[in-house]
């Protein structure tokens, strides 16, 4: 199916504000048999708004979100809605969530929110829920069943009994490489809800799931991980076409497990190294993923790029726009049954910065 989204118009409009090659947002297009069922939505994630003191916030992270919001508002045609993929705040406090919500309030149109661990572990999501509503839910939009999960829960013992203060609990979970952290999970209660929710959905209906953590196991040391990923995947297995979008990892990842296509979003705040760049770690990044180019730290917004995703008949074609680097396209290949980079997938076709070390 031809791409109905007028990308040139978008890029022209975007260029009025800023360089279009640096858009730190994820634009998603879902295209189906009937033209009236084709639509787009924008996907922004991991802004990590961080309070210094009083009304002072870390400028770098603010700029990432401000820019993503401004560029999303420039989209032509307008996306049907926006998804924010979690980690709006850095340490979960009201000033951070309020400041982030204030920036997001400038978005025109409906915003769906996903809970991140940085939003949750100070007050167990209480203030976040006041601002944004339920922590897990589903909705239907033009023939697609969308599910939003709170995938950053963990063992009750860790959450409720381990730490003397809420602030320490938040700080312990906020450190990505902190050995005192605890693995993320969706949990029994939410999986039961998911099972009931999906029972009402036809198996031929495309299902799109949003979670903050990957609903697959990549690297436990940095919580690129969901403890009950297999159980969630099993609930999604009966459907013909399932796509999972996740944040948290601050980098391009893609994978295929059975019927489920996985794609990550980049952060608006900062990029993360791939797990295999940590010499002491096991290397569990999906073999499919060709890594994004190494970020240039001298450009604040580098490697906080954006994606244009065209899901045609339930299969994804993902265009990653990288700052100062060539655009990448990862498309589902019907022959191999998995997403592949159309230019760089073969080992001998890669450019040097894709070989992280």
């Amino acid at each position: 199916m031809s791409q109905t989204f007028d990308r040139r118009t978008f890029l022209r409009n975007a260029a009025l504000g800023v360089s279009a090659s640096t858009l730190p947002l994820t634009l998603v297009e879902l295209a189906f048999a009937k033209p009236e069922d084709t639509f787009t939505f924008a996907y922004i994630s991991d802004s990590h708004i961080q309070q210094i003191r009083g009304t002072e916030f870390v400028r770098n992270w603010d700029r990432g979100l401000i820019r993503a919001v401004a560029e999303t508002n420039l989209l032509t045609p307008k996306p049907d809605f926006v998804v924010f993929g979690g980690d709006l705040a850095q340490l979960g406090g009201k000033p951070e969530l309020d400041h982030g919500a204030g920036m997001l309030a400038r978005l025109s149109g409906k915003v769906y929110h996903v809970m991140g661990e940085h939003d949750y572990y100070l007050d167990l999501g209480e203030y976040w829920s006041k601002l944004f509503g339920p922590q897990y839910y589903s909705f239907n939009h033009k023939g697609v069943h969308f599910v939003v999960l709170n995938s950053i829960l963990t063992y009750d013992d860790w959450t409720l009994r381990r730490w003397p203060t809420a602030e320490q609990r938040m700080a312990e979970m906020a450190g990505l490489d902190n050995p005192n952290g605890s693995p993320f999970m969706v949990g029994d209660k939410q999986r039961e809800w998911l099972q009931q929710d999906l029972a009402k959905v036809k198996k031929s209906t495309p299902v799109v799931v949003f979670s903050h953590s990957p609903l697959q196991k990549i690297y436990k040391g940095w919580n690129f991980w969901t403890e009950d990923a297999e159980q969630v995947q099993a609930l999604l297995a009966p459907f013909d076409k399932v796509t999972v979008f996740y944040g948290h990892v601050h980098q391009i990842q893609y994978n295929q497990i059975g019927n489920i296509s996985f794609t990550s979003a980049m952060a608006t705040a900062w990029p993360w190294p791939y797990p295999q760049s940590y010499a002491q770690a096991e290397q569990l990044l999906p073999k499919l993923t060709v890594q994004m180019n190494r970020a240039d730290p001298f450009f604040e917004r580098d490697a906080t790029g954006w994606q244009l995703i065209d899901i045609n008949s339930g299969r994804a074609r993902v265009n990653f726009n990288l700052y100062n680097n060539r655009t990448r396209t990862v498309a589902f290949d019907e022959k191999t049954g998995q997403p592949q980079d159309t230019a760089f997938q073969a080992a001998d076709q890669r450019v040097p910065p894709q070989d992280h070390f």
């Binding site: 990590h48 210094i52 450190g175």
Partner: protein, 133 residues
């Protein structure tokens, strides 16, 4: 006889003295040196996650979990953004000034030594490739 006696005393003195020679050390020494190093690595890890190292609360570990993507084995190397061959401590200072909005450290500041010790420890086992990009 007297001469022999003096010689024996001298030899004995030499052999006693040899315990203090530079190339001889004990397991206790090795253990102490290792403890010194481990302590500095530990200090470095503490600084890596210290919100007071800079001025805006941002910590090194936010962008570099386990000091990943610092690639100490490639320094010194040409740093295109600085336009010269640079040492790793210069890049640490770049990070202190920019993402951490703080003050740079002297190259031989104990804090800099600790940061570099931690970075290098996390990268142990990787072969040296100075100049590599």
């Amino acid at each position: 006889m007297k001469l022999v006696h003096i010689l024996c005393v001298s030899l004995a003195a030499l052999s006693f003295g040899s315990a203090a020679l530079a190339d001889e050390f004990t397991d206790a020494d090795l253990k102490r040196w290792q403890q010194q190093f481990d302590g500095v690595v530990k200090d470095g890890r503490a600084l890596w996650t210290d919100s007071k190292l800079g001025r805006n609360g941002v910590v090194c570990a936010q962008c570099h979990p386990n000091a990943a993507n610092t690639h100490p084995e490639t320094y010194p190397k040409f740093q295109k953004q600085l336009g010269k061959v640079a040492n790793l401590w210069e890049m640490v200072n770049w990070c202190l000034r920019n993402p951490l909005q703080g003050d740079p450290l002297a190259a031989d500041d104990p804090k800099m030594t600790a940061l570099l010790a931690y970075i290098t420890w996390e990268r142990r086992g990787v072969k040296l490739e100075p100049g590599k990009h």
